[in-house]
């Protein structure tokens, strides 16, 4: 009976997923172009959020330099498209170089952070690393354009907003599948075990440092690829993409969406993209919203204080409560 119920809810989930997918496929044909762009952004940010969730949700590691992967992806795209050519071939090259670069960066970051061990030291060190990369991008004017940013043109295939919407959707779906497989794999299971109890995982004979390094690599590369897509989407890269603010975006996505759920990243990025959009729009009417970060930060603090497990966590809690209630009433009926 329990099994049946489980199967039933699984079927429900699947149905919901299919419906959602269908909706996503047809939406752009009815929506305004601004909405299409917003949703494309959400797709890309979802991958960025998921990459962060691997660290925070599955490894219990707070990386405050995460934006360095994301921003670097955008910069690599920008630099190669301007210095070489804006063709699809170069795009493939961008992806390859981003993977290599992020893997190397994650390796260096991991070497410094994982030995230190504690969450606190990790947060402090990664903040420093992220700031250093941002600083370098700001000073290396000849290549990055410095504080002015780097506008660039993109391969023709990505230029159409509607087409790009589908590319972003496919990108999100593919990355979700890959990351899901990764987390379900034995390696992913070990990461989960490390989060639950690192000592025990060590006693069981796992080289926890190695697994953390793998997790960081996967996370960094995913963030870098999201950065590439984001760069292509904006046709622009600047140091904001490397800033702590950008890392906070990832943090907030996992905060709102809930950690350790992966899918929560979609909810989270939808929420923050929407809020940012609204705040930025309000800016044209009320000058106070020039300082929209104020509201953004306030929202962030409130989420930390009052919604520690995010929307998805809240939703799951409500569902399980409803189920308990149902079970209770069923027993009463008997």
């Amino acid at each position: 009976m329990i099994k049946q119920q489980f199967k039933g809810s699984n079927k429900m989930n699947l149905l919901l997923l299919v419906a959602l997918l269908l909706a996503m496929m047809v939406i752009p044909h009815f929506a305004k172009s601004a909405t299409v762009a917003l949703i494309s952004r959400i797709f890309i940010l979802t991958v960025y959020g998921m990459s962060y969730d691997i660290l925070r949700g599955y490894m219990g590691f707070i990386n405050l330099g995460h934006a360095l992967f994301f921003g670097s992806g955008a910069y690599i795209a920008g630099i190669l498209f301007t210095k070489l050519d804006n063709t699809f071939g170069i795009f493939i090259l961008v992806v390859l170089i981003t993977i290599i670069y992020c893997s190397a960066a994650a390796f260096i970051m991991g070497k410094i952070v994982i030995r230190g061990g504690s969450v606190i030291a990790g947060a402090m060190i990664t903040l420093a690393l992220g700031e250093i990369v941002r600083n370098m991008a700001e000073r290396w004017r000849s290549v990055t354009g410095g504080a002015d940013g780097l506008p660039f043109s993109i391969p023709p295939i990505f230029r159409d907003r509607l087409h790009f919407y589908y590319y972003a959707l496919i990108f999100m779906l593919v990355m979700t599948l890959i990351l899901r497989q990764f987390l379900l794999s034995p390696t992913g299971r070990v990461l989960l075990a490390i989060r639950e109890n690192e000592q025990r995982a060590k006693f069981l004979g796992f080289n926890t440092d190695k697994y953390k390094m793998i997790g960081l690599q996967v996370s960094g590369i995913s963030a870098g690829l999201a950065g590439v897509m984001f760069g292509v989407f904006n046709r622009f890269a600047n140091t904001d993409l490397l800033s702590v603010q950008q890392t906070l975006n990832a943090l907030l996505i996992t905060l709102v969406g809930g950690t350790g759920t992966l899918y929560g990243a979609f909810v989270g990025s939808g929420f923050i993209a929407f809020v940012q959009n609204t705040l930025l729009n309000l800016r044209s009417q009320y000058p106070i919203f020039e300082r929209w970060l104020l509201f953004f930060g306030a929202m962030y603090v409130l989420v930390v204080l009052f919604m520690p497990s995010g929307f998805v966590g809240l939703w799951q809690k409500l569902i399980s409560e409803a189920r308990e209630k149902k079970k209770g009433s069923a027993v009463d009926a008997k």
Partner: protein, 288 residues
């Protein structure tokens, strides 16, 4: 020789400034196990309040004191309203202090504008000595003097006073401090606010050095302070003192000889030290 002397003064002055931030950060970390990500924000608040007061009153001392007092209160509010709610929950502490940092940094932009504001050094510190080929800026010597004074002050506070006893005891056994009838929360608030006031002092003294204050200066200096705390050994006062001097001197030397590397030098140093001594130079690692 002249260059050596100049770099020594510049490095020590820089080190003194970093120390003002790092020492508070380190003591807060040691006693409460909290990394305060608002420290950089408190630093710029100190700087801006200093400038605002100085431009009105033209009194150096009064402006510094005003900055410290105001930020002391701000720190106390941070601790009472936010940080105290999440003691023991490290991720939440990091997240909440980060959030406050975003809000209060943007608040600075709202009040004083997004572009840097300038301030002149007070007359009595504006001069310089020229000895041979080296220029010694009075203000830098003054910074070294203040840094030394603060270091001695903190040392005396920690070794000679009741507050210091509670801090030293609380680092090891906060529960036992309570079981002796001491309200350690009160000390937490005081130490947090005290650290904030030191950061404000840093900001207030930084503004006349560079001649301006901007909302981005906070994060930059916070990162330096973090590096000091990490290489000095988390929670070690002595470590933060030596780490600051070390970083300051190295910064001065690198900036003089290979300025293009000055951005990466700090982090490279941190990475090297962590590679050989994961607990930092003065290894009082806070494994929390």
């Amino acid at each position: 020789m002249d260059v050596f002397f100049m770099l020594l003064i510049n490095g020590l002055a820089e080190g003194a400034l970093i120390f003002l931030m790092a020492s508070g950060l380190s003591i807060i970390l040691g006693l409460m196990g909290v990394v305060n990500f608002t420290h950089g924000t408190l630093f710029i608040w100190g700087g801006y309040i200093y400038i605002a007061t100085y431009n009105r009153t033209q009194s150096f001392l009064l402006s510094v004191l005003a900055a410290m007092a105001a930020v002391f209160l701000l720190g106390a509010v941070f601790e009472k309203l936010f940080v105290s709610r999440v003691y023991g929950n490290i991720p939440a502490q990091i997240l909440i202090t980060l959030g406050l940092q975003v809000i209060f940094t943007d608040l600075v932009r709202l009040i004083w504008g997004a572009t840097p504001i300038t301030v002149a050094r007070p007359d009595f510190l504006a001069g310089r000595w020229v000895i041979g080929g080296a220029t010694i800026v009075h203000y830098r010597v003054f910074l070294i003097f203040v840094g030394l004074l603060v270091a001695i002050g903190i040392h005396l506070l920690i070794t000679k006073t009741r507050i210091g006893m509670v801090i030293r005891a609380g680092v090891q056994r906060p529960d036992m401090v309570q079981a002796l009838g001491i309200n350690i929360k009160l000390y937490f608030t005081f130490v947090f606010a005290g650290g904030a006031a030191l950061a404000a002092l840093g900001g207030a003294l930084y503004a006349p050095l560079t001649g301006s204050m901007s909302s981005t200066a906070g994060l930059h200096n916070q990162v330096l302070a973090f590096i000091v705390v990490v290489i000095g050994g988390m929670g070690s006062f002595l470590g933060s003192a030596f780490g600051s001097i070390f970083l300051g001197l190295m910064g001065a030397v690198v900036a003089w000889f290979v300025p293009s590397l000055s951005v990466v030098a700090n982090v490279t140093l941190m990475a090297l030290i962590l590679a050989f001594k994961p607990n930092g130079l003065f290894g009082l690692a806070v494994k929390k």
